[in-house]
Amino acid sequence: MIQQVDGIYPWPYGGRWTPRSSALIVIDMQRDFLANDGWFSLTGGDTAPLMLVVPPIARTLEAVRSAGLFVVFTIEAHRPDLADLPSNKFWRSKQLGRPIGEVGPLGQHLVRGTRGAEIISPLSPRSSEPVIAKPGKSAFVATDIDHILRTRGIRNLIFVGVTTDGAVQCTLRDANDRGYECLILSDATASDVPSHHADQLHTFSLAGGVYGSIASVENFLRVLRPEGAS
């Protein structure tokens, strides 16, 4: 059993918790969003604030793996034939100048199986860690993530990744409605616009946290370390 994490409320709500019933959810740390020649950068997004969270996510990954937590990665990526791409989403990407599915430096933009859809190398998934390709912002829309988590008996979710105001918040909202007990790591999530990150965390702290708790990486890692270890 692990101690509660010191956050906007002590997490998880029920008291001590176990690694076996908990998963780290790593959101959209793919080249399309983080690489200089990726889709996000090519459409005018600033990747610098996103890159800042790579080291804290790497530290978190290492710690949760040794503590025995399940790890799930998500990517925003469509089928190569774009059968799962809504027409308004395609239209908006055209307005941004880089239509989803068009071939760019990393292959087709936001498409499964391309270099752009790969998780950046410092955070590479292990073979036992599922990568969920999602066609939208929320990992719970049109995917099997809920099935996978429930099959393993997961009840607690810890969120890291990008962007705080995009896929992270959308996925967390859906997880919370489904009864998962959620924790967002404030310094392992980021937005391309830093004020949007701060505003999102402010929203999530309303009424003591109605979507889950919020804590720093340090506070989270502290409870994962064995007693007496530094």
């Binding site: 709500y13 929320s138 909202r173 409605d177 007990e181 999102q200």
Partner: protein
């Protein structure tokens, strides 16, 4: 026959300039006493319901106009079954911690419970007979409800959003709708949050990056397009 596009941020809505009574619905989210009135759920938690109640009048105007033109009107309502079989333990714990435990007696009846006074719609926006009401146990209107089935049956592609709160149930439902391919418009003055900063954030991130979740307009722009 299509209607003229609505002047909106960041693009004239809808994206394909194709909308009419037959494929567009007004979604009125959670305009309940619990979120809008003194002694309701939010008021009991110490939140400022004067902010949310400001959305009622503009919504009333839009609702009357869209009703008159024959649009599909769908109301959502957050509340739990009386046996609380649909209440997540952590949701119950969090509300109790803020002094408003769901399912317990409060000034407006059992807190956030179906059939109670606090759970009811505010009288100004009472659904008419024949309008659809979707009861939901969570923030998102699609979760554990038949909302999507109802919209598919009616051939709805475009959604206009009003209601409360903009950063909670409105945004969760709208981002889900957007992920599912619906073309969404948020009416900025017909929705509100319990904190001004939160509402401003939702407007900003909705219109961000070419409208990542859809578009945002003032209700006057929608009314203008309706003629």
């Amino acid at each position: 026959m299509t209607l003229p596009p609505v002047e909106a941020n960041p693009y004239p809505w809808p994206f394909d300039h194709n909308w009419s009574q037959s494929d567009t619905a007004l979604l009125v989210i959670d305009m309940q006493i619990d979120f809008l009135k003194p002694n309701g759920f939010c008021d009991q938690m110490g939140l400022d319901v004067s902010l949310t109640s400001a959305a009622v009048e503009p919504t009333r105007t839009v609702l009357a106009r869209m009703r008159g033109l024959g649009f599909t009107i769908i109301h959502t309502r957050e509340g739990h079954r009386r046996d609380l079989a649909d209440l997540n333990d952590n949701k119950r714990w969090r509300a109790a911690r803020m002094g408003a435990e769901i399912g317990r007696p409060g000034p407006c009846g059992l807190v956030l419970t179906r059939g109670e006074r606090g759970w009811d719609m505010v009288p100004e926006l009472c659904p008419l007979d024949g309008e659809t009401i979707v009861d939901k146990p969570g923030k998102g209107g699609f979760y554990a409800t038949d909302l999507e089935l109802l919209m598919q049956r009616k051939g709805i592609r475009n959604l206009v959003f009003a209601g409360v709160t903009s950063d909670c149930c409105v945004h969760t439902t709208m981002t889900n709708a957007n992920d599912k391919g619906y073309e969404c418009l948020l009416l900025a003055d017909c929705s509100a949050a319990l904190d001004r900063r939160n509402h401003a954030m939702i407007e900003a991130i909705t219109a961000k990056r070419g409208g990542q979740f859809g578009a945002v307009a003032h209700s006057s722009a929608l009314l203008a397009a309706l003629g």
